[in-house]
Symmetry: C2
Subunit: 335 residues, 2 copies
DNA sequence: TTGAAAGCGCTACCAT
DNA sequence: ATGGTAGCGCTTTCAA
């Protein structure tokens, strides 16, 4: 292993103090042009980069951001993390990423690790914040941590005191209903997800509460399933078993919609003639999977920008900020 | 913001020295049972967790690992990262994840950030290491960094002095050819990827060099495309335009295979009767997309275990270690 | 068994 | 314009 070079070595070689080197690197305070040049050359020559560890300890302020997702191998989280990291990286942040499996114990462990790592902020997705049945103590843990390190919740949680950045699907769900109505779909079913998940419940209610005014009837029964392609497969199998297929199925995300589409293909149902399919999120594959999934699209770039902006403005931000990110309704081949 | 509690506060409240608190937390040195209990209670009460930053600075050894991928929104990288993080987390590591876009400048920037963050090790995927046309200076940068921080290359790179963990597809590609032969596929094409990418070239050669002995003829022309579903779509369109479709298409990964499958569906080709499709990697969706993609499967868990083991054993490891991870040939509906 | 104190690499205050 | 130095929170050696 090579010796790691420090500010002391640079200072010695340049015959200046560490203070001067520090000033030069951070552009703080006046330094003569001669010394600046001398020191910069040394920095270049030795490819010196100051220790973020020491800097963080000294300033008690790091450029690291903690990111918690249930599982990054789910394309929605992967896409959002991707966009966020790309933007954050350009602004000098480095992201730590942990999978929580939506397990509250593990979430707590990760939260503690992030505190110990002195991260600048914590971006929190899924898990307890998305769970309406989550116990009070887990929510207050969030608020306690938020006293030490700002938490950005990517779920809208009433009464939770922390910055919240989330998708606003209200307008799009109206457009979806309007479109379905105009296209002649009257018998429509909701499918997938679980009722205790905030995001899911919100999407369902937006549909349920507005369908009537578009002359659409939503089936009473909602077949639930987990948020994956196989979830969609199973749910569609169940629907097929139970009887008549509706004219259109609104799946609670694109992964489930993909599973439903597969299952429809398998059973020789023609999409969208025999059954239309709609999803949410607009995953990358949704546009490439034949015949293309009609979806209420997340604007990942806007979402990521909102998150990074929030991180940048943490100091002058209401602890109660609510930052909605607008979605967009996109029509493709499945409707 | 709450005051962050430190070892000094704990020590004061317990009327002991910080040395004693440190000994208790780390189980190093003898401490009387009375003091141990006293201090432990305080630690619990205040939910105290020592600053990893200070610890890292002091010990010049962190529990952070740097992970570089071209783009985490690609399911192969997401799955591998996921498995690795889950295992690493259990062993006390925290992972930093950066997207390089396979951009060599950005890779260099990230490498420097990881050094500044004093990460324990760097796991490097894709980009320059997978590029046979990569200039010498970028490779020697890897070796230079490796002098300071161990790099684990997830690509087999001849002559590169660093630990290398990679998929070994040799055996599986034999099984694939044998299977295709027995199933009566004689006219087979390779499709997708780029010839300058090591992993791709290796896969192609394994097929090309062994097809004959199984009585299979591989088409001369390889239509290239990027490693995505849309890449597969386009490549298949091109193949369709050029003329007769082969009996089977070996796609260089499952994403491309998915695109090819979609395009086949779109053109009413029956899979596998009119054309059979094979992929590599065994992504999650490969088993759910109807009718299921036949693939040479990556064993993600084994791969992740190999990576974390390597991180654990870095000290007593040859700087030239080569750690192959065996793949498995899986037959599904597309053949 | 325990404590005092040096020092990890850096920044910023206080002098000059 | 420049340097000396305290101190961020921790571990570990040295003494007692």
């Amino acid at each position: 292993m090579d010796e790691k070079i420090t500010i002391v070595e640079i200072a010695k070689m340049a015959n200046v103090s560490t203070a001067t080197v520090s000033r030069i690197m951070n552009n703080t305070g006046k330094v003569s042009e001669a010394k600046r040049k001398l020191v910069m050359d040394l920095i270049d020559k030795y490819d010196y980069k100051p220790s973020q560890i020491a800097k963080t300890l000294k300033l008690s302020k790091s450029n690291t951001v903690g990111f918690i997702v249930p599982h990054i191998n789910s394309p929605y989280y992967a896409q959002l993390f991707y966009e966020t990291e790309v933007i954050a990286q350009k602004q000098g942040y480095t992201l730590m990423l942990c999978n929580s499996e939506s397990d509250k114990m593990l979430e707590s462990k990760i939260l503690k690790e992030f505190i110990a790592a002195n991260v600048r902020a914590i971006v929190f997705l899924g898990g307890r914040l998305d769970d309406m049945e989550c116990g009070k103590k887990y929510i207050s843990e969030i608020e306690n941590v938020n006293q030490k390190i700002p938490i950005i919740s990517c779920c809208e949680v009433p009464n939770l005191k922390c910055v919240q950045v989330y998708q606003e699907t209200q307008k799009s769900s109206g457009e979806l209903l309007s479109y379905l109505s105009k296209s002649g779909y009257r018998d429509v079913a909701l499918l997938g997800g679980y009722g205790n998940i905030r995001t899911t419940q919100k999407r369902r209610e937006e549909i349920l509460n507005n369908a009537e005014k578009y002359g659409i009837s939503i089936r009473r029964e909602i077949i639930e399933c987990d948020y994956s392609v196989s979830g969609g497969n199973h749910a569609m199998q169940e629907m097929l078993k139970k009887g008549e297929v509706p004219q259109a199925i609104i799946c609670i995300n694109d992964l489930i919609a993909t599973g439903v589409l597969n299952e429809a293909n398998k059973h020789k149902l023609r999409v969208p003639i025999d059954v239309a399919i709609v999803g949410y999120d607009n995953l990358d594959i949704s546009q490439y999977i034949y015949p293309g999934i009609t979806t209420i699209a997340c604007d990942y770039t806007a979402y990521a920008n909102a998150i990074v902006s929030a991180i940048n403005n943490l100091d002058n931000m209401e602890c109660n900020s609510r930052i909605p990110v607008q979605t967009e309704f996109i029509v493709r081949g499945t409707t």
